[in-house]
């Protein structure tokens, strides 16, 4: 036990003192903290911008063709604001001189021509059809004795509705659950490779013989994996704490939908499931990565040795991502129970649908069992790998020899 604590303390210290870890943590914490200020900052930029698409910034000119024009139309056009020209050629000269960006030649109340000097990407005459159509509709309503202000309530009457969801409402939970699943995804991939590399480096640097003669393989593997797990949790906690503080500061500026999504997702059921499956599944994967790291003698072989497990994990991620739209399918259910995919799928499934307790018991039991078995296997492979330097051996052969090995 003392050996385990010694290995754990040393590995944890080595990990959290790495410059790369410190810098990444600070940068990610600052980014998430900064993101929480976005809703507060949006109003500062809206309304005062200088986009070319803003009709108020466009200088318009117009010409009314010969004929009778309904009363009030010209006032409506001038409100753009727009300047009147008497003839089409005057309008063209104004465009050529750069006085205007857009010109309108109105032939009738429902027909016009747009003129540009140079038509830019943002140049737009969208404002005129709406204006003419609105003017026309209002005129017609007035002529029929209807107050135009009553039109919206006639066209879009307010319909009262209430919704009762007896199970899980996944319309508001999917986004947050997906985001939290992505955290686990990156956690496993980044720390998994780091753990495999750490073990492989001990063989590469020949430190393994010294370690294995100083303490047990069990202390070494458990100490390293627990240290990796705690380091990841510490790093994640700092980042999420920064996001939490930012959220608390800017809570009032967040749209209501965000609050609804958070409160809809972070139910007790989901939080318990997320923490359990993430922690146990994460440990299981770290043991797998540590075992695979023990099978190679050089650090550069780590990525090829860990490729099968990476594929398996990415497969789990794809089921989780695509399964969101078919959260009550058999595939999604089976994937949530199998430990290797369940680490990602089960928390997501818990957020999206009501999961029967039997499924939870089965999934948690299997995951716990697999974690213990893989930890045992990792210890055996690590011990076997102590002095097996040289050519890469097939995984099946490694497992067979490691289990047979009596050293």
């Amino acid at each position: 036990m003392k050996g385990l604590f010694t290995v754990f303390n040393y590995e944890l210290n080595q990990h959290i003192r790495k410059k790369s870890v410190i810098v990444t943590t600070i940068v990610l914490a600052l980014i998430l903290f900064g993101i929480t200020f976005i809703p507060r900052l949006i109003p500062l930029f809206s309304g005062s911008g200088s986009s070319d698409a803003d009709p108020k910034d466009i200088s318009y000119g117009y010409v009314l063709a010969q004929g009778a024009w309904p009363k009030g139309l010209e006032e409506a056009v001038q409100s753009l604001p727009a300047k009147r020209y008497e003839t089409r050629s005057e309008l063209e000269i104004a465009l050529k001189d750069g006085e205007l960006k857009t010109g309108f030649y109105l032939e009738s109340p429902l027909k016009f021509e747009t003129l540009y000097m140079d038509r830019t990407l943002y140049a737009s005459a969208d404002i005129m059809p709406g204006l003419l159509a609105s003017f026309y509709t209002n005129s017609q309503l007035v002529s029929k004795g209807i107050n135009p202000e009553e039109l919206p309530s006639i066209l879009h009457p307010e319909v009262e509705q209430t919704t009762t969801v007896l199970g899980q409402d996944n319309t508001s939970t999917a986004f947050i659950a997906m985001f939290l699943m992505l955290i686990v995804y990156f956690l496993v991939l980044i720390y998994g490779i780091a753990t495999a590399t750490m073990v492989a480096r001990e063989k590469d640097s020949r430190a393994m013989e010294l370690l294995i003669t100083s303490t047990s393989a069990r202390s070494l593997i458990l100490g390293k994996v627990f240290a990796s797990a705690v380091a990841a949790i510490m790093q994640l906690s700092v980042i999420l704490f920064a996001a939490f503080v930012g959220y608390q500061i800017n809570k009032s500026t967040f749209p209501e939908v965000i609050h609804l999504m958070l409160s809809g997702t972070l139910t007790t059921n989901y939080v318990v499931a997320y923490i359990f499956y993430t922690l146990v599944g994460y440990l299981m994967y770290l043991f797998l990565y540590a075992a695979l790291g023990s099978t190679v003698s050089r650090v550069e072989d780590v990525s090829s040795a860990t490729a099968p497990i990476q594929f398996l994990f990415i497969f789990g991620y794809m089921i989780a991502a695509f399964g969101m739209n078919m959260s009550d399918s058999i595939l999604f259910r089976v994937a949530s129970i199998i430990p290797f995919t369940g680490v990602l799928v089960m928390p997501l499934r818990t957020a999206l649908v009501s999961v029967p307790m039997t499924d939870h018991i089965l999934a948690a039991g299997l995951m716990g069992l697999f974690t213990v078995l893989i930890a045992y296997l990792a210890i055996r492979i690590y011990r076997w790998g102590t002095l097996n330097y040289g050519n890469k051996t097939s995984l099946r052969k490694v497992v067979t020899e490691a289990l047979r090995n009596k050293d």
């Binding site: 003392k2 010694t6 040393y10 640097s205 010294l210 003669t213 303490t215 009596k406």
Partner: protein
């Protein structure tokens, strides 16, 4: 303490590496473990350290089964390696703690040995920044941390310059004086001869020689004597005439006589005195460890 290896056998697949090793090491007496490359030295040491488990045989410490992890052992493996990116003192303390020391004691001990090997200024630097020779010294220090009761060193002199080798020899001498049990393998016969009281010579997985170094050398001297006279030519002629069964081997200023049995010293001295010759040197010829090694291992080969 007495460490005994009894009938140790070890195979790797079909290849039998150790064929019944018997060997005894006593505390307070350094044992030099000799053998050619591939003779089985490192395999034997790894069996002692439980890196491998022997197929057959027992390893006993004072009559009880020996388990390296339960004892206070300082070990320097043949395959050198520590954490290249970790700071020197940090990892020395770590290895000290792994072998059962407290953090405080390990730090104190590591600092003492770093100073002893003139590496104090490197304590806070990553190992990879040290020269190869200094890295080798750090490797040695890790085996010394926390004052181990048993020291098992596989090729400790490799990579050390003569000055550092002398510093290391002094340290080993200190451990032996303190009554520690010391085993080290080496190809450098001069160091073994200087440091060791006992030797074990392994060849192709068999122990060919084992025991007190002086006694082994004396036994190997047979009845060979070194003679040097004022007139070596006349002296040689006299021996050839009076003792025709003797084998004579000339050297620069002397010659070695093999009496092929018990030498009748009185008869030899009388013959020399009667001839009126002057004898300046007369002593038993003793082989060097190097002679012994080549003679034993080379002879086996033939």
């Amino acid at each position: 303490m007495k460490l005994e290896l009894k009938n140790i056998h070890k195979s790797f697949g079909d290849k039998k590496v150790l064929h019944g090793i018997d060997m005894t090491v006593q505390s307070g007496r350094a044992l030099g473990f000799l053998g050619r490359n591939g003779a089985g030295k490192s395999t034997t040491i790894r069996c002692i350290m439980e890196v491998f488990r022997q197929d057959e045989g027992d390893i006993l410490l004072d009559g009880q089964p020996f388990h390296a992890k339960n004892q206070h052992v300082g070990y320097l493996p043949e395959e050198r390696g520590m954490y290249s990116k970790a700071k020197v003192l940090d990892q020395l303390v770590y290895f000290g703690q792994l072998r059962g020391g407290t953090k405080k004691d390990s730090k104190q001990s590591a600092t003492k040995w770093l100073e002893y090997f003139d590496l104090g200024e490197w304590a806070g630097k990553p190992l990879e920044q040290l020269s190869k020779g200094n890295q080798q010294k750090v490797q040695i220090i890790q085996s010394f941390v926390n004052d181990p009761d048993l020291l098992i060193l596989d090729e400790p002199f490799s990579g050390l310059d003569p000055v550092n080798a002398q510093i290391f020899k002094d340290a080993i001498g200190g451990f032996v004086k303190e009554g520690k049990l010391v085993i080290f393998s080496s190809h450098q016969m001069a160091y073994v001869e200087e440091l060791c009281d006992d030797i074990a010579l392994i060849h192709e997985g068999n122990i060919l020689l084992d025991g007190d170094l002086d006694a082994i050398l004396k036994a190997r001297s047979k009845n060979r004597w070194v003679l040097e006279g004022k007139d070596n030519k006349a002296l040689r002629e006299l021996i050839e005439q009076n003792f025709p069964s003797f084998e004579i081997e000339s050297h620069e200023d002397s010659f070695i006589v093999d009496a092929k049995g018990e030498l009748d010293q009185a008869a030899l001295f009388n013959a020399i005195a009667n001839q009126g010759l002057l004898l300046e040197k007369f002593e038993r010829w003793m082989p060097t460890l190097n002679d012994l090694f080549i003679e034993t291992v080379g002879g086996e080969k033939q």
